[in-house]
């Protein structure tokens, strides 16, 4: 074929559009790098040359370059340099990058002195670890210079609250490619204008594990990674159990003074599900869908994943079945549905999983569900468990299509749970979306303990729902409550009409789960309000509080409604509970330890996110509140929490170096 002809044909080949978020992220990173180079030069730019024209050499005669990170020996013993800043290989999944935080147009942040940053990464990977990880961390340092362009928008109505407070601006910007759905802190609502609050239950624990991981590395987590309800729900609480087996769960409420604000109260809702009696435990028909892409080749990923699944298998019964499908590497079925009575066969298949290898396209999720269908048992729990570090190239690349697929399959009775591993590639936003669509939960496994917790201790609750599509609706009584705000659950809010609509999906409660929701409320007779009163008041169109002033419901703060479906039903049931002032405690010391601990965790989450409602409350205060409320703490999770709070204190003190030009604004060091 002649050259011109060849040219013609090749030029016709279409190049797929680059993802705009990736493009933007690259441009910002390049500009930031340029800036940092500019700043590091001494003297006039024109006079100083970088060491050699590092990359300007003609291809054939590339001279080796020193890399800042280390020296890799090329075959002939020459030093081959790799100029750095490689962003995580997780770009493989960038079909879903609409949530790229680091794609925010660079605010022109200057990369601060690189050596200082590298030194601060106390837990930087050891030299012999995957150099990709090292390079990725380098990239993280580079990208750190960019402040989050989307800061928490304070609701206009909370201006009174925040008027006096100086906001500490320094917050580590999104690092690498961990992506989280953006969270807008729930605004304060006026009870007489908007008395009804509706949201879906959430029992995922991924956020807590992720936060823990960050703190253990001495870093504050990104704000959007902190989902307060998941922090609170990580722990087990001894709320009263339902009286009869008929009721899958029971709700308990309490009202008590807010630890961080003397002028408000906390309205505490606790839901506890009963444990499925062991002999009533249904069979499990499980398919493990495992990411074996190259990026999984790190100690905290595939090896940890294998251990996690080993744990799970060890807790299964002989007549449960397990199948294994892998994707993003060697693809396809590794193990046909196998009864756990052949445990060794299963464990061997797990052991032989290797990361890397070549991609094979359309296998993956369809295959996994096909296997689940093969072994489908109406009486059993049929579940696909997807384990990944963020590569979701499971064979359906379009994100919406993937969610739809999972949802359709859910309707046929096959649920999906998602386990996240590692960091730098972690796509929390997609994980959450899939788990929600798939009637499953999302958890983040940062260490072996967590693996054991999620897949052994909580295997029954993770695997066996006792109620699905659980929705909570609270109607506040404007005669008693002036203003309220829901703490957490920002990503689970529902519309008022969604409550009754059985077609709207919501979270599930597993066997033995406890779920907590907290509202901070301002009583009508309180003297401090968040929101200024209306000047031009009308009584039309708003709930008339005076009607309730006398009458049976006058003692009620609010009315709690919960809708749920039994696992094999499609029509929801309703549970109600009035929240009255006789449920109120005047002093937080009198309140049950579990409640106090939950409140402490709520405070911690808000502090991590710099939510504007905690006043002068500090991490030290959190410790003071939580420590005596540790209770039995059989597995040490609560003590671990206290350690995390201490870590957060010191992580806070080490503010990351800041944005362009200026010296770090000293964060108003509240006495921590």
């Amino acid at each position: 074929m002649k050259e011109p002809e060849l040219r013609q044909i090749l030029r016709k080949g279409e190049v797929p559009e680059p993802n705009s978020a990736a493009r933007q992220g690259t441009i910002s990173a390049a500009v930031a790098t340029f800036e940092s180079v500019r700043k590091n030069r001494k003297g006039s730019p024109a006079a100083i040359r970088l060491r050699g024209t590092t990359t300007g050499e003609p291809l054939d005669q590339r001279r080796p370059m020193m890399s800042k990170l280390g020296v890799f020996l090329a075959p002939r013993g020459a030093v081959v340099g790799v100029v750095t800043v490689v962003v995580a290989l997780g770009l493989a999944w960038t079909a879903f990058t609409t949530y790229f935080e680091d794609a925010a147009p660079g605010e022109g942040g200057a990369t601060p002195e690189a050596p200082a940053l590298l030194a601060r990464r106390l837990d930087s990977p050891k030299p012999q670890e995957d150099y990709r990880l090292a390079l990725r961390d380098r990239a993280e340092e580079q990208l750190k210079s960019q402040p989050l362009s989307r800061s928490q928008p304070l609701s206009a109505s909370s201006k009174a609250e925040t008027a006096g407070e100086a906001r500490a601006p320094a917050r580590p910007p999104s690092i690498g490619r961990d992506t989280f759905t953006e969270i807008d802190v729930n605004p304060v609502k006026v009870a007489s204008e908007e008395p009804v609050s509706t949201f879906s239950v959430d029992v995922d624990t991924a956020s807590y594990a992720f936060v823990r991981r960050q703190l253990n590395h001495g870093l504050l987590p990104q704000k959007d990674a902190v989902r307060i309800e998941e922090l609170i729900n990580y722990f087990d609480y001894d709320y009263p159990l339902p009286e009869s087996q008929e009721q899958p769960f029971r709700a308990t409420v309490a009202v008590y003074p807010t630890p961080w604000n003397a002028k408000t109260k906390l309205l505490h809702i606790g839901i506890k599900g009963h444990d499925i009696v062991p002999d009533k435990k249904p069979r499990s028909n499980l398919v493990f869908l495992i990411d074996v892409s190259g990026s999984m080749d790190q100690p905290d990923k595939l090896p940890l994943l294998k251990n996690a699944f080993r744990f799970l298998v060890s807790s299964l019964e002989k007549d449960d079945t397990v199948a294994i499908v892998v994707y993003a590497g060697a693809a396809g079925t590794v193990l046909e549905p196998t009864p756990v009575s052949q445990k060794n066969k299963i464990l061997t298949a797990l052991d032989q999983l290797q990361p890397g290898g070549t991609t094979a396209g359309a296998e993956g999720i369809r295959q996994a569900y096909a296997l689940a269908e093969m072994g489908f048992d109406e009486q059993a729990v049929n579940r696909v468990i997807l384990a990944t570090d963020g590569d979701f190239n499971v064979g359906i690349t379009n994100r919406e299509e993937l969610k739809d697929f999972v949802e359709r399959k859910r309707k046929t009775g096959i649920y999906l749970s998602v386990l996240g591993f590692g960091q730098g590639n972690y796509n929390d936003a997609l994980m959450q979306a899939l788990a929600q669509n798939g009637n499953g939960n999302a958890a983040y496994i940062d260490n072996l303990n967590e693996a054991r917790k999620v897949l052994v201790d909580e295997a029954t609750s993770t695997l066996f729902p006792i109620a699905k599509d659980v929705k909570i609706q609270v109607e506040f009584n404007p005669a008693k409550v002036a203003e309220y705000r829901l703490i957490g659950y920002e990503t689970r809010l529902l519309k008022r009409e969604d409550f009754r609509n059985d077609r709207v999906d919501a979270g599930d409660i597993g066997s033995g789960h406890a779920v907590t929701a907290l509202y901070e409320i301002i009583p009508v007779d309180g003297d401090a309000k968040w929101i200024d009163e209306l000047r031009y008041k009308t009584t039309t169109g708003t709930t008339d509080g005076s009607k309730q002033a006398s009458g049976p419901s006058s003692k009620e703060y609010a009315f709690l409604k919960i809708r749920y479906k039994l696992p094999d039903e499609d029509k929801s049931r309703l549970m109600t509970l009035p929240i009255t002032s006789d449920l109120e405690a005047g002093n937080i010391a009198k309140v049950d330890g579990d409640l106090r601990f939950a409140a402490a965790v709520a405070a911690f989450g808000q502090l991590l996110r710099d939510d504007p409602f905690t006043g002068e409350y500090s991490f030290a205060d959190v410790i003071t509140l939580a420590e005596p409320a540790r209770g039995e703490d059989r597995f040490g999770y609560r003590s671990e929490f206290l350690n995390l709070v201490r870590l957060a204190k010191s992580a806070r003190a080490l503010q990351p170096l800041p944005t362009k030009g200026t010296r770090p604004p000293v964060a108003p060091l509240r006495e921590k």
């Binding site: 074929m1 002649k2 050259e3 060849l6 040219r7 044909i9 090749l10 030029r11 016709k12 080949g13 279409e14 190049v15 797929p16 680059p18 993802n19 990736a22 493009r23 992220g25 690259t26 990173a29 390049a30 500009v31 790098t33 340029f34 800036e35 180079v37 500019r38 030069r41 730019p45 024109a46 040359r49 970088l50 050699g52 024209t53 590092t54 990359t55 300007g56 050499e57 003609p58 291809l59 054939d60 590339r62 790799v82 100029v83 800043v85 490689v86 962003v87 290989l89 770009l91 999944w93 960038t94 079909a95 580079q142 190259g294 990361p355 890397g356 070549t358 991609t359 094979a360 396209g361």
Partner: protein
Amino acid sequence: MTDLDDEALVERAIGGDTRAFERLVEKHYRRVYASAYRYCGVREDAEEIAHEALIKAARAIQGFRREAEFSTWLYRITFNTAKDFLRRPGNRRDNDVLFEVAESQQSNPGKPEDQVLAAELYRAIAKLPDKQKDALLLVCAEGLTHAQAAAVLGVAETTVSWRVFRARQTLQKALER
């Protein structure tokens, strides 16, 4: 190859003008990405290569001595980066998933067979020995002249011609199978 507008921007960028550099990156992103794509065949990989390449460019540009054209220099960086990328463990993909022709492309204005044929060719090119691959991509995919390609590769123009010729031969054989 570098247009006049670029000339000015490059000068200023060398001098440390951030805005100028930003403008340059915006202008050239697409081209760098496209070159990377034609080299490696996977969109996400191409994005990553483009990212690395532009970061390298950012580091090096203030020391750019204009011993070559800016676009030549940028091509070098891109190709080098692409090569490095593909050499890393785990980045080599099965040849038949490269250059995927998406559904949408198949129903594009251009004839679908064109797309499929082009993709097939690119896949075949991906299997060529590096030197032939580089030469062929620069000349026939990027549209450079032999002389321009020679500048990028740092070889004589005749060397480029020879490599392109060899590459075409290899392709021909591959397609006949």
